[in-house]
């Protein structure tokens, strides 16, 4: 967005929304929405407390691991599915099943299999992030210009080379789009995992604050989460812009 020749940073529109929030809060329409300024005051109060720091580290750990697995598994699987009919036929039904399975219902099974610790939470986070990465990567790979693949093969590309040097790059705009959405979903996933499996981390804080009607505490934690989601999304958006130069000329 440009105003009089100045480029406004992407997140600056948040100021507009924040202002709207403040107004709604000040009007006192509902106790559920305290003024944004109160929320920030609370945020600064709780941000240094051991409970908050512990929740932050638990959440960040699970989130990072979950995102790592969704990306590290999702992209190769998506590429393989877009490339090979056999694998696609084998995996797509299961992808569809996992995509559509209500995770809340899957959680008991997960817990049975993996216990209640970090492992199950990480898996839940991964389950939230991975599908859009797989699906988008698959869609990207299926659109690849066939000549590029033939070219690489004709110059003796090994499967690994083809993977790293052609498929990945040719589908990169779609992959990044998928990773961006996947990572944002993983933010939600980690919280839901924490709420459903064992109540730890930010999930525990949400539960506690919501059930005790500590609304400005509640929103303060939510703001921390949104900030997390935003910065990651903006970073990936920046990467997406970096590949835009060829995305439209493939």
């Amino acid at each position: 967005m440009w105003i009089r020749g100045y480029k406004l940073p992407a997140m600056s529109s948040l100021l507009v929304w924040g202002l709207l929030w403040e107004v709604v809060g000040q009007l006192g329409m509902t106790f559920f929405i305290p003024p944004l300024s109160d929320v920030f005051v609370t945020l600064f109060e709780i941000i240094g407390t051991p409970a908050f720091l512990k929740a932050l580290s638990e959440t960040a750990q699970a989130f990072c691991a979950g995102v790592f697995f969704s990306v590290a598994i999702g992209i190769p699987v998506g590429i393989l599915m877009g490339r090979s009919r056999l694998l696609d036929e084998l995996l797509l039904p299961w992808v569809n099943i996992f995509v559509s399975a209500p995770l809340t219902a899957l959680v008991p099974v997960l817990m049975v299999l993996f216990g209640f610790g970090m492992k199950s939470i990480i898996i839940t986070t991964t389950l939230f992030g991975i599908w859009i990465i797989i699906l988008n990567t698959r869609a990207g790979v299926r659109q690849i210009n066939r000549s590029l693949v033939e070219m690489a093969t004709s110059f003796g590309a090994s499967p690994m080379d083809a993977f790293l040097k052609v498929y990945f790059w040719a589908a990169l705009p779609e992959i990044l789009g998928g990773v961006r959405i996947g990572v944002i979903r993983a933010v939600k996933g980690v919280i839901i995992g924490q709420l459903l499996i064992s109540i730890v981390g930010f999930g525990a804080l949400f539960e506690l604050y919501a059930s005790n009607f500590l609304m400005s505490h509640f929103w303060a934690v939510l703001i921390v989460l949104f900030t997390l989601a935003f910065s990651i999304s903006e970073f990936l958006g920046y990467l997406e812009k970096k590949v835009a130069y060829y995305a439209a000329s493939r």
Partner: protein, 253 residues
């Protein structure tokens, strides 16, 4: 090999269901019924009709919500993808919606929209729409420029470029977002039945869970997944029908 893909599906289904049956028999947990127990519970619910009654309840918010999310989501996604100004203003909303832990926000929804259909439709929309919007907008930006140029030279109006170039070119990614959106909508419908008011299939799940009737609980979950998978296959058929030439097959063929 006309039936190859069918064989593959059947075989992989057999494998997984077999594993389920075995896991249920060990048992890995008292709360984990076997495949046959679950299927007989499903059969029972089918024959006494209770599953149909439940679905008639569940499908209402689902269908309405998914329809709204699809239309509105693709529309907004296109707009965000095309207009930098609009993106600046509105993409944060969808990022927030996508990242917000819905379960924590349900009280807010109950507050605003009550415990009836509206809230549930809302939950479905919140779950389904952001993926659709974000996928659509990122796909739109990658439309091949040479085709846009071609259309311009043949006097395409803006809406032509949108309908005849951008949407078909973006359709594979839009559809993958749509799939995820629709399945998120399914999850949303169930979640709203678990968290707002238990009706329909969500009620079967939470009730059988509270009376420890795990086979019925798994049967209900199984039926949702089945329905969602059927629906996703339908969606894929629609995609192939609408944009046939986009399917260039697999590289390995």
């Amino acid at each position: 090999m006309k039936y190859r893909s069918l064989y593959i599906k059947v075989i992989s289904a057999l494998l997984v269901f077999g594993a389920w049956e075995i896991a249920g028999r060990i048992p890995i947990s008292y709360a984990f019924p076997t495949f046959f127990e679950s299927m007989s519970a499903l059969a029972r619910m089918t024959f006494d009709g209770s599953i149909f009654v439940a679905y008639s309840e569940t499908l209402k918010p689902l269908v309405i919500g998914v329809a709204i999310s699809t239309v509105l989501g693709i529309g907004l996604g296109l707009w965000i993808g095309l207009s930098e100004r609009f993106e600046w203003l509105f993409s944060p909303i969808f990022i927030v919606m996508q990242a917000a832990p819905l379960a924590a926000l349900i009280p807010l929804l109950v507050m605003a929209y009550g415990i009836g259909l509206t809230s549930k439709v809302f939950v479905v929309c919140i779950m389904a729409m952001p993926v659709i919007v974000l996928s659509t907008s990122s796909a739109v930006r990658n439309t091949p420029s040479s085709m846009q140029q071609m259309a311009t030279s043949f006097l395409a109006k803006d809406h032509h470029i949108l309908l005849k170039i951008i949407i078909p070119a973006a359709s594979p990614v839009i559809f993958s977002g749509l799939r995820l959106g629709v399945s998120a909508g399914f999850i949303g419908a169930i979640l709203s039945e678990l968290k707002i008011t238990p009706t329909g299939v969500g009620d079967i799940i939470s009730y059988s869970r509270s009376i420890a009737d795990y086979p019925s609980m798994y049967a209900a979950i199984f039926s949702i997944i089945l329905l969602a998978v059927l629906f996703l296959n339908l969606l894929e058929k629609i995609e192939n029908l609408l944009f046939k030439g986009n399917d260039r097959g697999y590289v390995t063929d």
